[in-house]
């Protein structure tokens, strides 16, 4: 029984999806008897099976809908109202089926009298309105004819499962039941006669003239059985497992091929060739089992469009082309939702209202065309409407308002580039939010979903003529064909999908790299192609490094409408690879989409074209920012104060004003249940990681919460932790911190504008001793009695303020200097320092120059100098090393700085000893 039920559920769900589609079709072509027959047959089957399985609720609804549809067949005009009602009943059936599935075969309690009554009412009114007494006979005839047709049609569909006669009888009885209620009682007697008569003629027709009923039916029966025996249902999991194993097999085969390639005369060659072919075929075969026509993902769309059409009062017709295009079912699942969303968008925003359309000289009925076709190793899906098109002006306005772009950037952009803004997050040009779409989470979600499966989305639109969205997705996700390239001695795989062509670079040929303000470009068929060296994208080298002019390849890539060239050192071959996800430790690297094992056993990183494209984009804007900054510098050479943006943690504590602390100083954000806060020796403590952590309040008036959880910032240093009690954590922002007003109040360094609000920057140095009186003392004790003298050079007052207490706390005697110039003066005066800590980014003389000139002086050749910088990249570190720095520390890496100082001093002592 269980198996039977499961089978019934799967099959019925499938049938219902078909009914959905067919009904919508039928509404448009009410005279197409074939469609109606099809629907009738499906509903009838459901009804019959329900009766057989003992599901009275389902049976009743199916029966009532069938009755109404019977009336349609009798020639009653099809109204949207009645189709809606039938669709509603289908929905109800689905609902019940869903519950049935959940509850393991028990039909849920419930009453469907509302629907059934409505269905019956329509059936009755149809009768009353359309069928007079004289129409009684044709009606019977029609019913009888129908009876016969599905007898013939039905058998091939469900061979041998449910006794047909049984169903047939049930159906006929049901039919009679209704007829009894509706028709005049005289007809009751007349019916059999009519039926017999018509049956003969009808079946005669069905058997194309000559063949007898008996002969005809078994023939169809056999055919049906044949089909059912040829296909079996397989659990998706089984197929997935099979696919994984085949993928592994492909990998192993590749490895074997690689080995044999190295041994020319191997006897394995021939059998391996055969294995290779078989594997390829196997792969193809398994792939095929996973392939499904894209129409499966489209099934719900006609219904959605129909409902939308009614809801929005816009006549819409949906045309679907290429529904039999096949693609991997995994991909199919993933594009279902984006597609639905896009169709909704087209219907809601894309198409104008009928009045507008007429005014624009278009037919009243809007057309949405959905098409799918194969192209290369991928599938293209296009959603096109003949509506108003994208409004460029509106997009520009919105893009500016959202701060995605600037006026000057916009001017340089092509229309297509501007249109692409609709894929940006939170972008919706619909001025009104309807309940259909326009909630601002539209196209960016679609784009994300599409990109997640390695696809891309593009838009083409002409104002007034309509828009078209084109999704390009790989046929399958499991195996990707990639181009293996080399950069900086390492190999990388680039998915073929986004590779357009390869260009060999030669300094004397037309393909040579030229530069516009240090940015490499290539003339390619009378167009300029922006270039970026892969080694630079991957952080191997800085951008000013000269590109090897004679020995390079350019991989021309296309991502969306963005086309660019990636310069690589070498190109090897293409290889089919199985993408393996990156370990979670590396997943945040946007430049890679995964990794895989190559034929030779080495692991290779797979470049993510989308990551490259966005890096290109940010690269370009980065250059812009640089330029602007350069100009700003020229204008006011002096004022460069803590200019690099830093991450700040915004919170509220004690008062309503926002407070901020550099995020890097915070060890952790914690929340403790208030009940965990204990009071001991006159202060609040919590047990934290096996030790007692004292809590500190921002000021005397601040208190911890009385119930719930208490958020706090945990600061740790040398095994000690303190919890700063805050009211709530507001945000983490990246902003330039420029202290505008220096504070006199203890605990506050000053106020700065962060996120356009005056924000108090707290002075951690004030709070640490509140937790442990000896926080700083302890360290001073541990250090040598004679504190070492330290010169700290930084042009930013903020950093001088922030780091001086830290350095002092670590036991150094700190002298600060606002510039390298001042530092020179101090040193010239004969001041003796044990070490120098200097900022890199300073006006006039920067840290590198400062260090280099010190190293040039014999007196300071061995003086430890530590660089402190907001910019920590391998290049900058190298540059620092070249300039003669002993160490290079990130500006906010406080412990790093202390450790580094300790290191240079111990080294020094080691050398001395």
């Amino acid at each position: 029984m269980d198996d039977l039920l499961r089978e019934f559920l799967t099959e019925t769900f499938e049938s219902l999806d078909v009914v959905d589609v067919e009904l919508v079709k039928f509404e448009q072509e009410p005279n197409n008897a074939k469609i109606l027959d099809n629907i009738f047959r499906l509903v009838h089957t459901i009804k019959g099976t329900c009766g057989f399985l003992g599901l009275p609720r389902l049976e009743a609804i199916a029966h009532a809908s069938e009755t109404l549809m019977g009336k349609f067949r009798d020639g009653v005009p099809v109204t949207p109202e009645s189709v809606s009602l039938v669709l509603n009943s289908i929905d109800r059936i689905k609902e019940i089926l869903g519950e049935l599935e959940m509850s393991n075969g028990v039909e849920p309690e419930g009453d469907d009298q509302d629907l059934i009554k409505e269905l019956e009412r329509l059936s009755l009114s149809a009768d009353a309105g359309e069928l007079g007494a004289d129409a009684a006979e044709p009606e019977e005839e029609a019913v009888a004819e129908g009876d016969d047709v599905y007898q013939v049609l039905e058998r091939p569909l469900r061979p041998g499962e449910v006794s047909l006669d049984e169903l047939e009888r049930a159906f006929r009885e049901a039919e009679v039941e209704v007829d009894m209620r509706v028709a005049v009682s005289d007809d009751d007697e007349a019916e059999p006669q009519v039926e017999v008569k018509v049956k003969a003629s009808a079946s005669g027709e069905a058997a194309s003239g000559g063949a007898s009923v008996a002969k005809d039916q078994p023939a169809k029966n056999n055919g049906g059985q044949g089909v059912s025996n040829q296909s079996i249902r397989v659990a998706v999991d089984t197929l997935e497992d099979l696919m994984t194993m085949v993928s592994e097999l492909v990998l192993t085969r590749n490895q074997l091929l690689e080995i044999v390639r190295r041994h020319e005369d191997s006897e394995f060659k021939v059998p391996l060739q055969r294995l290779s072919n078989v594997t390829a075929e196997l792969q193809e075969g398994v792939m095929k089992t996973r392939m499904q026509p894209i129409g499966n993902a489209w099934q719900k769309l006609p219904r959605i469009v129909r409902d939308l059409s009614q809801e929005l009062s816009k006549p819409i017709s949906l045309e679907m082309i290429g529904a039999d295009t096949e693609l991997d079912r995994q991909v199919l699942e993933l594009i279902k939702d984006p597609l639905t969303h896009m169709i909704r968008n087209s219907a809601d925003h894309g198409l104008e209202s009928p009045a507008e359309r007429v005014a624009a000289g278009k037919p009243e009925k809007g057309v949405i065309t959905l098409s799918a076709y194969h192209e290369g190793g991928h599938i293209l899906i296009e959603v096109r409407d003949d509506g108003r098109g994208l409004n460029l002006a509106k997009i520009k306005q919105k893009a500016l308002a959202n701060g995605i772009t600037t006026e000057s950037e916009l001017e340089k952009m092509s229309d297509q580039q501007i249109q692409k803004f609709i894929f940006a997050a939170g972008f919706s040009t619909a001025s009104a939010v309807t309940n259909v779409s326009g909630r601002g989470v539209g196209m960016d979600v679609v784009r994300n979903n599409v990109e997640m499966i390695g696809g891309s989305i593009d838009v083409r639109s002409q104002e007034g003529r309509g828009s078209s969205f084109i999704i390009k997705i790989p046929l399958t996700l499991a195996i990707v064909s990639t181009l293996i390239v080399e950069s900086h001695g390492d190999r990388f795989a680039i998915p073929q999908l986004s590779v357009v062509e390869l260009v060999r670079v030669q300094s004397n040929s037309e393909h040579r790299i030229e530069r516009i303000k240090d940015r490499p470009v290539l003339r390619l068929r009378n167009k300029l192609l922006p270039l970026v060296p892969l080694s630079q994208l991957l952080g191997f080298e800085s951008e000013d490094q000269e590109l090897d002019k004679d020995n390079g390849f350019i991989v021309v890539m296309q991502v969306g409408s963005q086309r660019f060239g990636v310069v690589v050192d070498g190109v090897f071959h293409t290889e089919e690879i199985v993408v393996k996800p990156m370990s979670s430790m590396l997943r945040n690297l946007t430049m890679f989409s995964g990794n895989t094992i190559l034929g030779d056993g080495a692991v290779i990183m797979i470049i993510d074209p989308n990551g490259v494209a966005s890096a290109m984009a940010s690269h370009a804007s980065g250059a812009l920012v640089e330029e602007v900054e350069e100009k700003a510098e020229e204008i006011s050479e002096k004022k460069v104060d803590g200019d690099a943006p830093i991450s700040m943690l915004l919170f509220r504590a004690g008062s309503a004003e926002p407070k901020a602390v550099p995020l890097s100083l915070v060890t952790r954000l914690e929340e403790f249940d208030v009940s965990k806060i204990e009071r001991s020796n006159g202060r609040d403590l919590v047990q934290y990681r096996g030790t007692l952590m004292p809590l500190v309040y921002i000021n005397e008036s601040a208190q911890h919460k009385s119930e719930g959880t208490q958020p706090m910032l945990v600061f740790s240093d040398s095994g000690r932790s303190m919890g700063l009690v805050v009211d709530d954590i507001v945000d983490i922002v990246e902003d330039r911190m420029k202290i505008e007003v220096v504070s006199e109040r203890a605990g506050i360094l000053g106020s700065a504008i962060i996120k356009e609000k005056a924000t108090e920057i707290i002075d951690l140095g004030h709070y640490l001793p509140l937790a442990f009186d000896d926080w700083f003392m302890r360290k001073e004790m541990s250090n040598q009695p004679t504190a070492r003298k330290l010169l700290f050079v930084d042009d930013s007052a903020f950093f001088r303020n922030m780091l001086t207490p830290v350095l002092k706390a670590a036991g150094y005697d700190v002298t600060t200097c606002p510039s390298a110039q001042a530092a020179f003066e101090l040193l010239e005066k004969g001041e003796d320092y044990a070490a120098i800590v200097t900022d890199i980014e300073m006006p006039e003389i920067n840290g590198y120059q400062f260090c280099e000139s010190l190293r040039g002086d014999t007196r300071f050749r061995h003086l430890p100098i530590i660089a402190l910088s907001a910019v920590v990249t391998p290049q900058s570190i190298q540059q620092g090393r070249d300039a003669g720095f002993d160490d290079y520390v990130a500006k906010f890496d406080r412990p790093g700085l202390i450790a580094s100082l300790k290191d240079v001093f111990t080294n020094e002592m080691g050398v001395a000893a």
Binding site: L538, S583, S584, L586, L589, V603, R720, I732
Partner: protein
């Protein structure tokens, strides 16, 4: 862990059964111990593919019998100077949240069976970068063995605090 130790102290007599086996490894001259239950295998890392833009602690990725393993350079994680080029390296394979990681270390030592009640908490003056990933210390004859807390090690690497 600390609860465990506490209950052991009270039932010292039965504590003989409360032993943990540690695989000992040497990193920069210091002896470390990894609970044997967490050690999958020990191997020599070969053909490590560098991962550009990755955190400095990540040595790279490598193929270990068909699985992709992320190799973590423990010297770099512990802020120790790098190993000389000609010295051989070893790696300890571990599983964490069904992903494979390899901790690149200097050398592997013997397996020690140590009673849990002898475990001591980290000394309070331990470098915080070490304390973060240390699960305590065992006093062995002649040297100390730091217990490597594999879970915190990987948590600190996978979810680094924003800085």
């Amino acid at each position: 862990m600390s609860n465990f130790a506490g209950s052991n102290n009270t039932e010292l007599l039965h504590a003989s059964s409360e032993y943990i086996q540690y695989v000992t490894v040497v990193i920069g001259g210091q002896l470390f111990g990894l609970p044997i239950s967490q050690v999958h295998d020990v191997f020599v890392p070969e053909k490590v593919t560098r991962v550009p833009l990755s955190p400095p602690e990540v040595e790279g990725v490598l193929n270990l019998r068909g699985r992709i393993v992320t190799a973590i350079n423990m010297r770099r994680r512990l802020h120790l100077p790098p190993l000389d080029e000609d010295q051989s390296m070893m790696a300890v394979g571990i599983e964490y949240k069904s992903e494979s990681y390899g901790l690149v270390i200097d050398s592997v030592g013997e397996v020690l069976n140590l009673p849990t009640h002898e475990r001591e908490d980290n000394p309070s003056n331990l470098d915080w970068r070490w304390a973060e990933i240390s699960g305590g210390v065992h006093r062995l004859e002649g040297q100390l063995m730091v217990i490597l807390d594999v879970d915190s090690l990987l948590t600190t690497l996978i979810e680094p605090k924003a800085a």
